[in-house]
């Protein structure tokens, strides 16, 4: 097993942060490449409710359905740093991450004091 794969498995279920430090999802699953006998290699991080069905059987499928089923694929090259969180190289919106927050924000901003 390659060292990269060790790191990758250790970040499963960790918080994703974008370049500005915004929380923008979790590492819900990993895309791994390589057949039997070859070196396994992580090619992407998968995030979003659409990925949960692979994780929790019936309960995961139900949670994924409630969450709307969206999924985002972030290529492994976009990972800038792995510490206690996983830091990405660009802004969340460029990957399509954190869309739920972006959609709700205009509604919240209509209420006085939203930026307190």
């Amino acid at each position: 097993m390659s060292e990269e794969l060790d790191i990758a498995l250790a970040i499963l279920d960790h918080q994703l942060l974008d370049v500005e430090g915004r929380r923008c999802g979790n590492v819900d699953d990993l895309a791994i490449e390589g057949g039997p006998g070859e070196d396994a290699r992580v090619i992407a991080i998968l995030s979003g409710p659409g990925v949960w069905r692979n994780r929790g059987r019936l309960l995961g499928r139900f949670a994924g359905w409630v969450g709307g089923g969206g999924r985002v694929r972030v290529p492994w090259e976009e990972v800038a740093e792995v510490e206690s969180h996983v830091r990405l190289r660009r802004k969340a919106s460029e990957y399509g991450l954190g869309r739920g927050d972006d959609r709700l924000r205009p509604w919240i901003e209509r209420i006085p004091g939203a930026n307190r």
Partner: protein, 407 residues
């Protein structure tokens, strides 16, 4: 200046320790068994202090709150089960606390209960929307200090101090051992309610703790919760001195406030009601935030009052939804004191899955570096985990066997 700040933090922790669960279980345990269960409160308070210190340290060093660690350590599936259990218990607790706020307001104003529930919900929503995290902690923490009136009341009632001292020695009761154990479990549950660690650890992130704040964390957890436990003793002593002899079961918050009125008169009653109002109001906000923190952390959303309301939209909407759900529950007319008993007993069942990930992460050198658990924290952490596990397994059977403490 630094010492001053720490002192203020501790004061807020004392005032913030007691919630409706502590009020109900301590007073009722006193009324049923006198001072015999005081030793259980000591065990509970040391337990919450140990785990709060641990999760506060994890938050300061790694920036992770409890449900970040739950997700990482037990995985998606078991984490999701823990999340659902935590949210259900949390919502029950919030509803009970909101009901408590409305009862206090009714006793202070004489207005109708259902209107006051609505007033309480709107007031809590406005406070959370407008007031900063630091000030929320301060306002409710200092207001809760009015509960110290119960300590004065306990002394004024001239308890048999020899019997009080004997209550601190662990022992079993042979006359009604089942009910005794039920109250012991309830007291542990009330002292170690899971929302306290959810809120405490997320609060550490809210206040942007770094390893420099570890001293503050330790002082808050040890002294703040320790002295908060002192209030629990006072409640039980009042219950034991006043209600045991009369054979009264304190079934309402009004009866609990009577505990201060009998020895101290009107001013005692007023201070007790104001103290309960702030303590229970503060706990409402803690549980409300805890629910939103948990969901956001589990799903990786932006969260925290320090982000502004629009800065963490899904977090903001989550606490609004939780507040409305709580309104629905209290409006059904369910008795908040009874709801509290159920919430505390069910919360005990959710404790192991909350505390195990904290213990595991606090032991993980790859995050914690030199701030990893020492021998004392680990010994206590493991001993308490075993206690929690035993209590979690017995809580529901005991509740059924004792008919929710009715004997």
């Amino acid at each position: 200046m630094k010492i001053f700040q720490i002192a203020l933090g501790i004061l807020a922790a004392i005032g913030g320790f007691v919630d409706i669960g502590d009020l109900v279980f301590n007073m009722a345990a006193g009324a049923a068994f006198g001072y015999q269960l005081l030793w259980v409160v000591v065990i509970g308070v040391v337990g919450i202090a140990v785990y709060s210190e641990m999760c506060g340290r994890v938050a300061a060093v790694s920036g992770k709150a409890v449900f970040d660690t739950v997700r990482e350590r037990v995985g998606f599936k078991a984490g999701l089960v823990t999340l659902i259990a935590a949210q259900v218990v949390n919502l029950m607790t919030l509803a009970a606390e909101v009901g408590g706020v409305a009862i206090c307001m009714r006793l202070l104003s004489g207005l109708p209960y259902r209107w006051l529930i609505l007033v309480a919900i709107v007031a809590l929503g406005i406070v959370v929307w407008v007031v900063s995290f630091d000030w929320i902690e301060r306002i409710f923490g200092y207001g809760g200090l009015c509960l110290l009136v119960f300590a004065v009341a306990a002394v004024k009632l001239h308890p048999d101090w020899g019997a009080v001292a004997h209550g601190f020695v662990p022992h079993l009761n042979t006359e009604d051992s089942l009910l005794y154990v039920y109250f012991a479990v309830g007291l542990l549950g009330a002292a170690m309610t899971p929302y306290e660690v959810y809120f405490y650890s997320s609060g550490g992130v809210e206040e942007r703790w770094t390893p420099k704040d570890l001293g503050l964390n330790k002082a808050n957890a040890m002294i703040g919760y320790g002295l908060g436990g002192f209030l629990s003793f006072a409640l039980m002593i009042v219950g034991g001195t006043l209600f045991l002899a009369q054979g009264i079961e304190p079934e309402t918050l009004g009866t609990i406030a009577l505990g201060a009125q009998v020895p101290l008169g009107e001013i005692g009653l007023l201070l007790a009601l104001v103290g309960i109002l702030f303590a229970v109001g503060g706990a409402s906000i803690d549980t409300l935030f805890a629910g939103a923190y948990n969901l956001a952390q589990f799903l990786g959303w932006e969260w925290g009052r320090y982000r502004t309301n629009a800065g963490a939209p899904r977090f903001t909407v989550t606490w609004m939804v939780i507040l409305v759900l709580a309104l629905g529950i209290v409006m059904t007319g369910v008795d908040p004191v009874q709801l509290t008993e159920y919430a505390v007993i069910f919360s005990v069942v959710a404790l192991p899955l909350t505390y195990l990930p904290i213990l595991l992460v606090a032991n993980d050198r790859s995050y914690m570096g030199r701030y990893v658990n020492g021998r004392l924290a680990n010994t206590l952490g493991i001993v308490y985990f075993v206690i929690i596990l035993a209590v979690a397994l017995t809580a529901i059977p005991l509740m059924i066997l004792t008919n929710v403490g009715q004997g």
